[in-house]
């Protein structure tokens, strides 16, 4: 596959109350954005266990994003603060794992920000396209 044809697979964990509704708004408003994202709805970005992100990469995602509510907007008051802390440390750890920074993103979008959601997807798709497919390295084991 030439790099020009490469259409990344991006797994997006979106919270039920803000970002998922934002993605919904992007859809109902007929906002055009890259067809790269596979959305998984979770009740809160605070529900996103770092295990999910690692598993997404392990199962072939080229990029993973976690999108929650803006600070102060969390339906559960502080779920997105917890997510912000976890994703910050996860980001440091992924860097050490040799996974490029552009492949992982934690961001925020409210229910009224369909455009912002589309922008996040487009920006991320662009970056992951530059990086190319995520290829798992194993080296010689025999």
């Amino acid at each position: 596959m030439s790099s020009a044809d490469f259409q990344p697979k991006i797994v997006g964990f979106l919270c039920n109350w803000c970002s998922y509704a934002g993605a919904d708004l992007a859809g109902t408003s007929r906002t055009k954005y890259e067809p790269s994202i596979r959305i998984i709805r979770v009740m809160c970005s605070g529900r996103v266990d770092p295990t999910f992100v690692l598993e997404a990469f392990n199962r072939g995602a080229d990029g993973v994003c976690v999108i929650g509510c803006h600070f102060g907007d969390c339906h559960y008051l502080e779920g997105n603060y917890k997510a912000a802390r976890r994703m910050e440390l996860l980001k440091n750890m992924l860097k050490q794992f040799g996974i490029e920074e552009g492949r992982f993103r934690f961001d925020m979008a409210s229910a009224s920000e369909g455009d912002r959601f589309a922008q996040i997807v487009n920006e991320m798709t662009e970056e992951v396209k530059k990086l190319g497919p995520y290829v798992k390295y194993e080296g010689a084991i025999s």
Partner: protein, 319 residues
């Protein structure tokens, strides 16, 4: 009753598991009455060819410690699997990779370069590195090939039971030996001699509220003797680690480093440990959160100290 045949082996490991088997104490006399040790490089004299000459299933129990990092480790694992009725991954290295598994942050080429060439205390101007084969005047000398990725035992052979720990405690070791002697074997694939919950459940320290403004390394503070170590900012892996050791390290004032592996229901110990640590950071300001978490300089070595080869990502990506 005929005497049982017991074997042991060390692959990529430190030798501590062998010493730990002696922690069965006076039971060692009982073991000698019940079983013959037919092969165990560290403990009795034996040759690889003697094991290869045995019939399949001749050995009743094999306690295999060490991860699979080279050709020889893999070959011996396969031979001993064929010759043994019960194969036990004994200790953290064979169960999940352990300290040798941290080699997965690099590959064979990088490791050789570091150890034999670029390490500041090494003087090797000709850049001589080990070869798998060398023609000496007396004949060919060989060394087993080192792999790029370290794997736990179960990634190369079928394993019957797992005994976690770095090293396993004496009671656990005896529990396995006793199970084989009495024929009272648990379900295949079981983790033997440890509990199912997190270590915090058996740790006696007082747990209050977990909110941390700064993380410390063990040499930086004198922890309160009674309070939870994680609450004091020490990176204690108890909440992502299987119980069973009796919380020996926290009782001695040292944080748990996670050698018993993940508790039941946890796939990736490092991810859970990391998640728990991050969520107790006492700040809602992204900039401050980044500063607090920046004190954790080596996330893989901290969160995956024993489980990198059996984690979801298994190793660091190298281009």
């Amino acid at each position: 009753m005929a005497k049982l045949k017991v074997a042991g082996y060390w692959a990529s490991s430190c030798g501590g598991c062998e010493i730990a088997t002696l922690e069965i104490g006076a039971n060692i006399v009982k073991l000698a009455e019940l079983a013959d040790i037919v092969f165990w490089p560290c403990i009795v004299d034996g040759k690889y060819k003697d094991v290869e000459a045995m019939t399949d299933g001749e050995i009743d129990l094999c306690l295999f410690n060490g991860a699979i990092q080279n050709e020889e480790n893999e070959h011996q694992a396969k031979v001993l699997r064929a010759k043994s009725k019960v194969m036990v991954a004994y200790g953290s290295c064979s169960y999940e990779g352990c300290i040798p598994g941290l080699a997965n942050v690099a590959n064979q080429e990088q490791i050789f370069d570091r150890v034999f060439v670029s390490c500041p205390s090494v003087d090797n101007p000709d850049k001589v590195i080990p070869q798998t084969s060398y023609q000496a005047p007396e004949g060919e000398l060989t060394l087993p090939k080192i792999y790029d990725t370290v794997r736990p035992l179960a990634a190369v052979i079928d394993v019957d039971y797992f005994v976690p720990g770095c090293p396993p405690t004496g009671e656990q070791t005896w529990a396995v030996l006793e199970a084989v002697v009495t024929g009272n074997l648990p379900a295949k694939g079981s983790i033997v001699g440890a509990g199912t919950r997190a270590l915090c459940d058996e740790c006696k320290r007082n747990k209050e509220e977990k909110k941390v403004k700064k993380f410390y390394r063990t040499h930086q503070i004198m922890p309160d003797p009674d309070r939870c170590l994680l609450e004091q900012g020490l990176l204690c892996a108890g909440l992502a680690t299987r119980e069973g050791c009796g919380a020996l390290c926290p009782a001695a004032g040292m944080p748990c480093t996670g050698c018993y592996g993940p508790p039941d229901g946890v796939v990736d110990q490092g991810a859970k440990f990391m998640s728990a640590v991050a969520s107790i950071v006492d700040s809602n300001d992204p900039a401050e959160i980044a500063v607090i978490l920046d004190d954790i300089k080596d996330p893989i070595g901290t969160f995956y100290r024993y489980s990198l080869p059996s984690s979801i990502l298994r190793r660091v990506q190298i281009k």
